[in-house]
């Protein structure tokens, strides 16, 4: 069965500091990996995705993530955090199938940004 672990429930960083959110997955085949962001009371917005190819993927809002197969990880990074990045971040894994594909989400990491 597929699973996702986000070991950090809460993270606080200062504005302008770098950020890394951890994500470890378990999946029996080649995974499709995603990072979503959710602002309070809102739906989820896709930040970036990895399907194949270059293991370093760029997303929106200056985020990037690196797929490391040997470590079963897909950590999200941003070199300089902005106050508007405060939100909850979810990592997800799926099989990429075109019929009824289901994503498994981590429990999320809530990011707070100090001024």
């Amino acid at each position: 069965a597929q699973s996702v672990t986000q070991p950090d429930i809460h993270i606080t960083v200062s504005e302008g500091a770098s950020l890394e959110l951890r994500c470890n997955y378990s999946y029996g085949a080649t995974p499709y990996l995603f990072w979503y962001v959710q602002s309070p009371g809102q739906g989820l917005q896709l930040l970036l995705k990895y399907f194949s190819g270059d293991t370093l993927v760029q997303g929106i809002k200056g985020f990037e993530a690196e797929f490391k197969r040997s470590q079963s990880s897909f950590n999200l990074r941003k070199p300089s955090v902005h106050w508007s990045d405060a939100a909850e971040y979810f990592c997800a894994v799926g099989g990429g199938g075109s019929s009824g594909d289901k994503l498994t989400f981590g429990t999320g990491t809530r990011l707070a940004v100090r001024p």
């Binding site: 009371g41 739906g43 399907f51 979810f90 019929s99 289901k102 994503l103 981590g106």
Partner: protein, 112 residues
């Protein structure tokens, strides 16, 4: 571009009352559709998904049900709500042949 609408945005219902949440999508045909629930402080739990009209798969046995009467309409229902049904309900779709899930704005349900 694809758009997902959810109605209502907020709902307060007493225990034992019925429920109907609606999700409609625009800008695509024959999408895969999904209902998730997000409880406070927890991740997203997949409740139902549908690959076509009238085709519903249930992920978690509970007192909720789902229906897809039209290609771009997905409804989440209950005959009698429980306190534990409170949460944030999100509708999502995959506009085939993409593999990305897009989410609606959500419905906040409070059962009192």
């Amino acid at each position: 571009s694809q758009t997902i609408h959810q109605w209502p945005a907020t709902l307060v219902q007493p225990v034992g009352s019925p429920l109907s949440l609606e999700c409609t999508v625009e800008g695509t045909s024959n999408p895969n559709l999904y209902w998730y629930r997000q409880a406070a402080g927890r991740g997203l739990q997949l409740l139902f998904y549908s690959v076509g009209i009238g085709q519903i798969s249930s992920e978690v046995p509970q007192n909720l049900s789902a229906s897809r009467p039209q290609d771009r309409q997905f409804i989440l229902s209950s005959k009698k709500l429980l306190l534990s049904d409170s949460g944030f309900y999100l509708c999502a779709m995959i506009p085939l042949p993409d593999y990305e899930q897009y989410f609606g704005p959500g419905t906040r349900l409070t059962v009192t």
